[in-house]
Symmetry: C2
Subunit: 125 residues, 2 copies
Protein backbone atom coordinates (compact mmCIF):
# COMPACT_ATOMS: atom_id res chain seq x y z
CA UNK A 1 0.00 0.00 0.00
CA UNK A 2 1.25 3.43 -0.88
CA UNK A 3 2.33 5.63 1.98
CA UNK A 4 -0.60 7.78 3.11
CA UNK A 5 1.47 10.95 2.94
CA UNK A 6 2.10 10.20 -0.72
CA UNK A 7 -1.61 9.51 -1.34
CA UNK A 8 -2.43 12.80 0.41
CA UNK A 9 0.02 14.70 -1.78
CA UNK A 10 -1.33 13.17 -4.99
CA UNK A 11 -4.89 13.91 -3.87
CA UNK A 12 -4.14 17.51 -2.92
CA UNK A 13 -2.39 18.17 -6.25
CA UNK A 14 -5.34 16.61 -8.10
CA UNK A 15 -8.03 18.37 -6.08
CA UNK A 16 -6.72 21.93 -6.17
CA UNK A 17 -5.38 21.57 -9.71
CA UNK A 18 -8.87 20.67 -10.90
CA UNK A 19 -10.54 23.21 -8.62
CA UNK A 20 -8.45 26.00 -10.13
CA UNK A 21 -8.81 24.74 -13.73
CA UNK A 22 -12.50 23.71 -13.85
CA UNK A 23 -14.40 22.92 -10.67
CA UNK A 24 -16.90 20.71 -12.54
CA UNK A 25 -14.10 18.15 -12.92
CA UNK A 26 -14.39 17.37 -9.21
CA UNK A 27 -17.71 15.58 -9.74
CA UNK A 28 -15.95 12.20 -9.85
CA UNK A 29 -14.41 12.48 -6.38
CA UNK A 30 -17.72 12.99 -4.53
CA UNK A 31 -20.63 10.57 -4.06
CA UNK A 32 -24.24 10.83 -2.91
CA UNK A 33 -23.14 10.17 0.68
CA UNK A 34 -20.41 12.84 0.60
CA UNK A 35 -20.69 15.86 2.87
CA UNK A 36 -19.39 19.40 2.38
CA UNK A 37 -19.46 22.08 5.06
CA UNK A 38 -18.53 25.31 3.26
CA UNK A 39 -18.12 28.35 5.51
CA UNK A 40 -20.67 26.77 7.85
CA UNK A 41 -23.19 25.78 5.16
CA UNK A 42 -23.91 22.04 5.19
CA UNK A 43 -24.45 20.27 1.87
CA UNK A 44 -24.91 16.54 1.23
CA UNK A 45 -24.46 14.65 -2.03
CA UNK A 46 -22.39 15.11 -5.17
CA UNK A 47 -25.01 17.16 -7.06
CA UNK A 48 -25.45 19.74 -4.31
CA UNK A 49 -21.72 19.91 -3.69
CA UNK A 50 -20.81 20.52 -7.35
CA UNK A 51 -23.63 23.05 -7.63
CA UNK A 52 -22.19 24.89 -4.65
CA UNK A 53 -18.61 24.80 -5.89
CA UNK A 54 -19.52 25.96 -9.39
CA UNK A 55 -21.77 28.77 -8.14
CA UNK A 56 -19.10 30.46 -6.02
CA UNK A 57 -18.86 34.11 -7.05
CA UNK A 58 -15.51 34.30 -8.77
CA UNK A 59 -14.27 33.49 -12.26
CA UNK A 60 -10.70 32.56 -11.47
CA UNK A 61 -9.13 31.10 -8.36
CA UNK A 62 -5.63 30.02 -7.47
CA UNK A 63 -4.84 27.92 -4.40
CA UNK A 64 -1.35 27.94 -2.92
CA UNK A 65 -0.89 25.00 -0.57
CA UNK A 66 1.25 25.59 2.51
CA UNK A 67 0.82 22.45 4.66
CA UNK A 68 -0.62 18.97 4.11
CA UNK A 69 -0.96 16.55 7.04
CA UNK A 70 -2.39 13.03 6.78
CA UNK A 71 -3.34 10.32 9.26
CA UNK A 72 -5.16 6.99 8.90
CA UNK A 73 -8.72 7.70 10.07
CA UNK A 74 -9.71 4.10 10.89
CA UNK A 75 -7.64 1.20 12.29
CA UNK A 76 -8.45 -1.08 9.33
CA UNK A 77 -10.71 0.54 6.71
CA UNK A 78 -7.93 2.30 4.79
CA UNK A 79 -9.58 5.70 5.05
CA UNK A 80 -7.38 8.80 5.30
CA UNK A 81 -7.80 12.10 7.12
CA UNK A 82 -6.12 15.04 5.38
CA UNK A 83 -5.77 18.57 6.74
CA UNK A 84 -4.65 21.35 4.40
CA UNK A 85 -3.75 24.97 5.08
CA UNK A 86 -2.91 27.52 2.43
CA UNK A 87 -3.76 30.73 0.64
CA UNK A 88 -6.13 31.50 -2.19
CA UNK A 89 -6.41 34.34 -4.66
CA UNK A 90 -9.60 35.05 -6.63
CA UNK A 91 -9.98 37.04 -9.85
CA UNK A 92 -7.92 40.23 -9.63
CA UNK A 93 -7.53 40.31 -5.86
CA UNK A 94 -4.02 41.17 -4.76
CA UNK A 95 -4.31 40.08 -1.14
CA UNK A 96 -4.46 36.34 -0.60
CA UNK A 97 -6.89 34.86 1.94
CA UNK A 98 -5.84 32.03 4.23
CA UNK A 99 -7.91 28.89 4.29
CA UNK A 100 -8.12 25.61 6.13
CA UNK A 101 -9.69 22.49 4.59
CA UNK A 102 -10.19 19.01 6.01
CA UNK A 103 -10.96 15.90 3.97
CA UNK A 104 -11.64 12.30 4.79
CA UNK A 105 -10.93 10.00 1.85
CA UNK A 106 -12.60 6.58 1.84
CA UNK A 107 -11.42 3.68 -0.37
CA UNK A 108 -13.49 3.15 -3.51
CA UNK A 109 -12.03 0.09 -5.17
CA UNK A 110 -8.32 -0.74 -5.55
CA UNK A 111 -6.19 2.38 -5.51
CA UNK A 112 -9.18 4.73 -5.64
CA UNK A 113 -10.75 7.00 -3.04
CA UNK A 114 -13.73 9.31 -2.79
CA UNK A 115 -14.28 12.30 -0.53
CA UNK A 116 -16.63 11.37 2.30
CA UNK A 117 -16.00 14.48 4.44
CA UNK A 118 -15.02 17.98 3.28
CA UNK A 119 -14.90 21.00 5.59
CA UNK A 120 -13.74 24.37 4.24
CA UNK A 121 -13.10 27.57 6.19
CA UNK A 122 -11.47 30.88 5.45
CA UNK A 123 -9.23 31.91 8.37
CA UNK A 124 -10.11 35.46 9.31
CA UNK A 125 -8.28 37.54 11.88
CA UNK B 1 -28.40 10.59 20.33
CA UNK B 2 -27.26 14.14 20.91
CA UNK B 3 -26.84 16.33 17.88
CA UNK B 4 -23.22 16.13 16.66
CA UNK B 5 -22.90 19.92 16.56
CA UNK B 6 -23.77 19.97 20.24
CA UNK B 7 -21.25 17.19 20.99
CA UNK B 8 -18.63 19.15 19.04
CA UNK B 9 -19.33 22.31 21.02
CA UNK B 10 -19.13 20.48 24.38
CA UNK B 11 -15.90 18.79 23.29
CA UNK B 12 -14.30 22.02 22.07
CA UNK B 13 -15.19 23.85 25.30
CA UNK B 14 -13.78 20.93 27.32
CA UNK B 15 -10.63 20.51 25.24
CA UNK B 16 -9.47 24.11 25.06
CA UNK B 17 -10.68 24.90 28.58
CA UNK B 18 -8.44 22.14 29.90
CA UNK B 19 -5.62 22.95 27.50
CA UNK B 20 -5.52 26.53 28.77
CA UNK B 21 -5.92 25.57 32.45
CA UNK B 22 -3.66 22.51 32.75
CA UNK B 23 -2.72 20.48 29.68
CA UNK B 24 -2.04 17.35 31.75
CA UNK B 25 -5.83 17.09 32.24
CA UNK B 26 -6.16 16.04 28.60
CA UNK B 27 -4.63 12.62 29.34
CA UNK B 28 -8.10 11.07 29.64
CA UNK B 29 -9.22 11.99 26.12
CA UNK B 30 -6.36 10.21 24.32
CA UNK B 31 -5.56 6.49 24.11
CA UNK B 32 -2.60 4.38 23.03
CA UNK B 33 -3.96 4.29 19.46
CA UNK B 34 -4.46 8.07 19.29
CA UNK B 35 -2.43 10.11 16.81
CA UNK B 36 -1.26 13.71 17.01
CA UNK B 37 0.38 15.60 14.16
CA UNK B 38 1.67 18.82 15.70
CA UNK B 39 3.17 21.29 13.23
CA UNK B 40 4.16 18.32 11.09
CA UNK B 41 5.59 16.19 13.90
CA UNK B 42 3.84 12.82 14.16
CA UNK B 43 3.26 11.32 17.60
CA UNK B 44 1.35 8.15 18.50
CA UNK B 45 -0.11 7.19 21.88
CA UNK B 46 -1.36 9.04 24.93
CA UNK B 47 2.01 9.17 26.72
CA UNK B 48 3.88 10.73 23.83
CA UNK B 49 1.02 13.12 23.10
CA UNK B 50 0.78 14.40 26.68
CA UNK B 51 4.57 14.67 26.86
CA UNK B 52 4.49 16.80 23.70
CA UNK B 53 1.64 19.01 24.87
CA UNK B 54 3.15 19.62 28.31
CA UNK B 55 6.64 20.34 26.91
CA UNK B 56 5.53 23.18 24.62
CA UNK B 57 7.61 26.24 25.38
CA UNK B 58 5.12 28.57 27.01
CA UNK B 59 3.75 28.94 30.50
CA UNK B 60 0.35 30.37 29.70
CA UNK B 61 -1.86 29.97 26.67
CA UNK B 62 -5.29 31.21 25.76
CA UNK B 63 -7.31 29.86 22.82
CA UNK B 64 -10.07 31.91 21.27
CA UNK B 65 -12.30 29.73 19.11
CA UNK B 66 -13.69 31.28 15.93
CA UNK B 67 -15.33 28.41 14.03
CA UNK B 68 -16.33 24.82 14.86
CA UNK B 69 -17.63 22.51 12.12
CA UNK B 70 -18.68 18.90 12.66
CA UNK B 71 -19.65 16.00 10.41
CA UNK B 72 -20.27 12.30 11.05
CA UNK B 73 -17.07 10.57 9.92
CA UNK B 74 -18.52 7.09 9.38
CA UNK B 75 -21.98 6.00 8.15
CA UNK B 76 -22.68 3.94 11.28
CA UNK B 77 -19.84 3.99 13.83
CA UNK B 78 -20.89 7.21 15.56
CA UNK B 79 -17.49 8.84 15.10
CA UNK B 80 -17.32 12.60 14.56
CA UNK B 81 -14.98 14.81 12.52
CA UNK B 82 -14.45 18.27 14.01
CA UNK B 83 -12.60 21.15 12.38
CA UNK B 84 -11.70 24.19 14.50
CA UNK B 85 -10.20 27.55 13.55
CA UNK B 86 -9.24 30.25 15.99
CA UNK B 87 -6.54 32.36 17.57
CA UNK B 88 -4.13 31.71 20.39
CA UNK B 89 -2.10 33.94 22.68
CA UNK B 90 0.90 32.66 24.65
CA UNK B 91 2.52 34.22 27.74
CA UNK B 92 2.88 37.97 27.26
CA UNK B 93 2.51 38.01 23.47
CA UNK B 94 0.26 40.78 22.23
CA UNK B 95 -0.29 39.49 18.70
CA UNK B 96 -2.50 36.42 18.43
CA UNK B 97 -1.56 33.58 16.06
CA UNK B 98 -4.19 31.86 13.94
CA UNK B 99 -4.49 28.11 14.15
CA UNK B 100 -6.39 25.27 12.55
CA UNK B 101 -7.04 21.97 14.35
CA UNK B 102 -8.83 18.84 13.20
CA UNK B 103 -10.08 16.06 15.48
CA UNK B 104 -11.77 12.75 14.92
CA UNK B 105 -13.68 11.60 18.01
CA UNK B 106 -14.49 7.89 18.29
CA UNK B 107 -17.14 6.50 20.69
CA UNK B 108 -15.78 5.02 23.90
CA UNK B 109 -18.78 3.66 25.75
CA UNK B 110 -22.19 5.33 26.08
CA UNK B 111 -21.95 9.09 25.77
CA UNK B 112 -18.15 9.08 25.81
CA UNK B 113 -15.57 9.71 23.10
CA UNK B 114 -11.82 9.66 22.76
CA UNK B 115 -9.58 11.50 20.29
CA UNK B 116 -8.38 9.12 17.58
CA UNK B 117 -7.01 11.81 15.23
CA UNK B 118 -5.60 15.23 16.11
CA UNK B 119 -3.88 17.51 13.59
CA UNK B 120 -2.68 20.96 14.67
CA UNK B 121 -1.26 23.73 12.49
CA UNK B 122 -0.49 27.39 12.95
CA UNK B 123 -1.70 29.37 9.91
CA UNK B 124 1.16 31.56 8.74
CA UNK B 125 0.95 34.14 5.99
Amino acid sequence: MADINEIAKVFVDFYYGNFDADRKNLRNVYKDISMLTFEGQQIRGVNGIIEKLTSLGFQRIQHKIQTVDAQPSHPSAGSILISVTGQLLTDNEENPQRFSQTFQLVPDGPGNYFIYNDIFRLCYM
